[in-house]
């Protein structure tokens, strides 16, 4: 059986007295597109920087393709690509010069063929200095450099920030295509629609701790329902003490909205003696699930 692409076990990183990440454990299977979601400051970038050996674990460990992220960092970087959230490459270098420079770390010819292929896809002007490029174009350069050596694992941190919708679509299609060819993707973002569109599984991190690792479909289908009920009168809209209601129901006149994780029969039984004008039961979006776990 092959090693997981990423195997993080009880990983803790503290900054003196400040929290970084605590007891983070998760596994990303080889060949999957895995989402890593959380608010700003939740610990996403800290986790990634430990994986890339920019930060050292305070406790626990992490492995990529079976190799230790501290001891085998160099070997790991030969098979890993990384798109940082801040696309601040060397501003005085021309885009083409920068990409050939990156490419030469992996291949003597600087991966010229791959540079041409990817710059054509992302419509990048290689003659311009990186410092003169817009945020979106710098992001494209960052994406291209991460894929030059056809990595087995791609780690991306907020990769679509600054990309226009057309380029986002091309980027997603490229990720899917590379994934079909065997590349694993660790997709860190707080843009939940992107994660929902691309990933099969997702980990939610909050205040440095993993609070859920689950398949997106499972998250959406099995546990939570988004319920809307419009009662016959405002007096009937109370659903207090019904197990399974997540958070505080949003009451507005005769109607009430809430997320429900309990037994649907129990809910229907509770409603059976009330007059109902309308009722809908929907799957919540990933964003609603995310907010549910966050709250």
């Amino acid at each position: 059986m092959s090693n997981p692409a990423i195997d993080i076990a009880s990983l803790t990183k503290t900054y003196g007295r400040d929290r970084g990440i605590e007891e983070v454990s998760l596994q990303v299977n080889d060949g999957e597109i895995f989402g890593f979601i959380g608010h700003n400051g939740a610990g996403k970038s800290t986790t990634i920087r430990v994986l890339l050996n920019m930060l050292f674990p305070t406790a626990g460990n992490a492995r990529i393709m079976g190799m230790d992220v501290v001891r085998d960092s160099r070997k790991i970087k030969y098979i890993t690509g990384y798109v940082p959230s801040d696309a601040n490459a060397y501003p005085h270098m021309e885009a083409g010069e920068f990409l050939r420079y990156c490419g030469r770390f992996f291949s003597p010819d600087g991966n010229e063929r791959r540079i041409n292929e990817l710059t054509e896809l992302f419509e990048v002007d290689l003659k311009r200095k990186i410092g003169d490029l817009s945020m979106g174009n710098r992001k494209k350069i960052s994406i291209i450099q991460s894929l030059l050596h056809e990595p087995r694992l791609l780690i991306v941190d907020e990769p679509t920030m600054g990309l226009d919708p057309l380029m986002q679509a091309r980027f997603f299609e490229l990720l899917r295509s590379e994934n079909r060819n065997g590349m694993t993707v660790f997709y860190s973002s707080h843009t939940l629609s992107d994660v929902q569109m691309l990933c099969k599984r997702v980990a939610i991190i909050r205040e440095g701790r993993i609070i859920k690792v689950e398949e997106i479909e499972t998250l959406r289908k099995r546990q939570l329902r988004k319920i809307f009920i419009e009662f016959g009168s405002a007096e009937e809209n109370s659903l207090t003490e019904l197990p399974g209601i997540e958070g505080t129901p949003l009451v507005s006149g005769r109607s009430v909205r809430f997320l429900y994780s309990g037994d649907i029969n129990q809910l229907l039984s509770r409603l059976s003696n009330r007059k109902i004008a309308d009722m809908t039961v929907e799957e919540p979006s990933l964003e609603e699930i995310f907010m549910h776990y966050y709250n």
């Binding site: 920019m54 050292f56 160099r74 970087k77 030969y78 890993t80 940082p84 801040d86 770390f105």
Partner: protein
Amino acid sequence: MRELRSNAVSLLIWTSVITALTALTMSFYGVFLENNQKILAMISIIPEGTLQFKGISDVDDLFSVLGFYSANNVIYMLVLGSIYSIVLSSGILLKEEYNKTAEFLLAWPLTRGEVFYSKAAVVFLNVAVINIVTAIAGYITLVTVKREPFSTDAFIVMSVYTLLLNMFFASLGLFMSTLVRRARPITTLSIGLVLILYFIFTISNITDGLSFIGYATPYKFVGMDTLAPDYRLEFISVIYFGGLSLLLSFTAIRLYRRKEIYL
């Protein structure tokens, strides 16, 4: 190569400015000699300490071409050259952090050691280049303006002292940059450190009771008395600069290997 190229302009500017200042100053040597009586009269009213501030222990030394050159070399290369060295070395690793380019650099298949060695090589090469070029330029100006022969050996010894001092500050800059936890430039701190050390050295020279504090600065180990008959490269100075530079560089690499890169 990328790092060499990105520092080439700065090296060119610093080298040109120091060379131009040296040439300009040395061009006054002839006028200085021709007006020696007036100058002696002027110098006689300057406190001795102020002269020592420029490394002049004997006023007569100023009228020899090497003494005149040496007095100016104190400011140009022992201070400005050291500032160049420490500013370059303290920024070369840190700039990757505060410009956030470390996110690319450290994601490529390089060890921390390889990153450090390549950056340190650029620093030491640049420091060597600025020293060699300014020394050659200085020698040419000396030969051009001299009225009497001067000791080439003494000139070489002075240039080697200058190089050793600049290499020491380059190592110190590398070491300091590995201690900085938050990614931010330490240029002001580096320049301030060179000036403070030079100031302490000067105070130690002009205040009898405080001469011992000079040993807290590297300047104390730079031989400046170029006209002394026994002027040579002192073994203790070579050990001091060589040992400290190696120790600082060695400690810096060890620290950088374990440095947390906060961006």
